[in-house]
Amino acid sequence: MTAPSTHTTKPATSVPALLKTAVINAVIALVLFSLMVGVRTEAGSDGQLTYWTRFGELAYLVAAVFGGSIVIELLRQWIGPAGTEKLVPPAVQKGMSLVGRYLAPALLIFTLLVPVIFYDQRYILDLAILVLTYVMLGWGLNVVVGLAGLLDLGYVAFYAVGAYSYALLATNFGWSFWICLPLAGILAAFWGVLLGFPVLRLRGDYLAIVTLAFGEIIRLVLINWQDLTGGPNGVSGIPRPTLFGIPLDRSDDGLAAKLGIEFSPTHRIVFLFYLILALALLTNWVTIRLRRLPIGRAWEALREDEVACRALGINTTTTKLTAFATGAMFGGFAGAFFATRQGFISPESFTFQESALVLAIVVLGGMGSQLGVALAALAMIGGFELFRGLETYRMLVFGWAMVLIMIWRPRGLVGHRAPTVYLKKAQAISSDLVKEGHG
């Protein structure tokens, strides 16, 4: 349609624009690096300040930025913002949809087998548990952010409530993990409702700021309420979980002794792995079920249009509060698990960074997509560990990866949203209707 005109005008206009962008970036780099790199200061032997210039290195850096921004700009124009189908041939698309269909079951089977395959590799098991914790947190936050469209920057607060609920109930009253787990979920849900009430009228940026503050309030209370929470020292000696009363330790009552097998500390790790897997799958299952019920549909409708929701007779107050409560409850479960796994918790584990990480997982995964969130958690947490060898460069690689994903797939890894309502007898109806409609 407009292709000929864009083809002729694009290179003509883009070359000066390209150079302009590159020059601007180079100037910014020059300003930034002239002090950071260009001038090197050190304390001399007598304590006086010595400095020398490194203009050569500075020139290299600025040149690299100049060249790099041209390359990036060209790449961006060549690849283009995602959404245009032109680059992906139909055959590849077909293959991808086939992969998409079997990816989730394949991943699930692989996950179930992880402790069997990597039984001797403690590091991988620990990492898998960590990834699954974030998968669960991502799925929990997905209810609030992905489905109900309420931007929550303080999700870590519910994680903290869950963790401290279990830690305090277990250490003070000696209650077992299996009693504390639902309690931690209920308490977190209660705090979710508590947060929900003041923010009922807020949306978007304003909601984000208040939830951010809420996350900080919870953390500050944990630090300062020393009598209850132990303040910055945290809570230690949190009991390990038991298999319905049977401890997983070296003692005579332990599981190993009862089964008559030799004790190994890996038993507990494997148990923790399956525990968090079960909790994560529960989160997933509940979310999928709820999406097909009126309440789940109401969440999604609320994300789309609040005014239309009211006109359709949806009680937006209860809809928002249930979304907050449900999301918070899963956060609480994950928190209780975190506490029992670590055996020690302190407010340091519940900083804003955690909220941001979980939110990044949800956004990168594709808001509302369960599979996408799981993949994003795997990529973010697993990938972060993968580049541990690169030391200083891993944050760089990490940042790069995030930018690239957002350029190529602005709606997240799995941007597709599966509908929850299908037409019965779809085949029969669509065939005779297509004729009618086009005739």
Binding site: P294, E300, E304, D305, L312, G313, N315, P419, V421
Partner: protein, 245 residues
């Protein structure tokens, strides 16, 4: 017909946004089985009247009687359960949800049986075959006319007795607008649905409606049958001349 007690009776209704009074004592009657058109210029308060029936904004004074019961203070989300449905201004369909889900959202309100839902869905498809074609498509990918059909279809899914339509022809090509008006007429004649329609397209609306009200600055200034109002010189001058398609 007008002698019986009306389905919806609005008495001395006042509503305001902050200090700006949008309705200054409105009286409107809608009888069962009627199509009533509400016409007027931009900012006359037409949409406000429709939204005040739904309790947002709340009435400051006056009464809204539905089937003889005062519903002025009923919460917004409960109005829909009284089998009053609304197709709000600007359509406001759910763009990322499929046509099917959009329709289902309308049905979720009612305590209807699956069979009733099925038959309502069939009715909506009979009226708007396009929706059946587009069933699995995302709402946001529909054309403007299809979105309007979806908005009306979604409202119909709650099996309403009274349907409130806010500017159904807004931004639509004349041919599509006619299809929408035809569907409204069919609904009224075949299903006995009572309709209140707010329109700037006075010509179409008054031809369709049994009765009409003209609103100026938050007050009803004229009332009469649709045909009667169409003949009034002041209506012709204000809303029809030059504005015809």
């Amino acid at each position: 017909m007008t002698a019986a007690s009306p389905l919806l009776a609005i008495r001395g209704l006042r509503a305001a946004y902050g200090k700006i009074e949008a309705l200054k004592g409105v009286d409107v009657d809608i009888n069962s089985g009627e199509i009533v058109a509400l016409i007027g210029a931009n900012g006359a308060g037409k949409s406000t009247l429709m939204m005040t029936i739904f309790g947002k904004p709340r009435a400051r004074a006056g009464q809204i009687l539905y089937e003889g019961k005062d519903i002025t203070a009923v919460p917004t989300h409960e109005i829909a359960h009284l089998r009053i449905a609304q197709s709000p201004e600007g359509r406001r369909i759910f763009p990322r949800m499929s046509v099917a889900e959009n329709l289902q959202m309308g049905a979720d309100v009612t305590e209807s049986t699956p069979a009733e839902r099925e038959s309502t869905l069939e009715r909506v498809f009979a009226l708007f075959p396009r929706l059946k074609e587009r069933f699995a498509q995302r709402g946001g990918t529909l054309s403007g006319g299809e979105q309007q059909m979806l908005a009306i279809g979604r409202a119909l899914m709650s099996r309403p007795r009274l349907l409130l339509l806010d500017e159904p022809s807004l931004g639509l090509a004349p041919l599509i607008a006619r299809q929408i008006f035809d569907a409204i007429r069919t609904l009224n004649r075949q299903d006995g649905l009572t309709v209140l329609i707010v329109e700037q397209n006075a010509n179409h609306a008054l031809k369709l409606a049994h009765r009409g009200y003209v609103m100026v600055n938050g007050l009803i200034t004229l009332a009469g049958s649709g045909a009667e109002l169409l003949q009034r010189p002041e209506i012709r001058a204000a809303y029809l001349e030059g504005g015809r398609h």
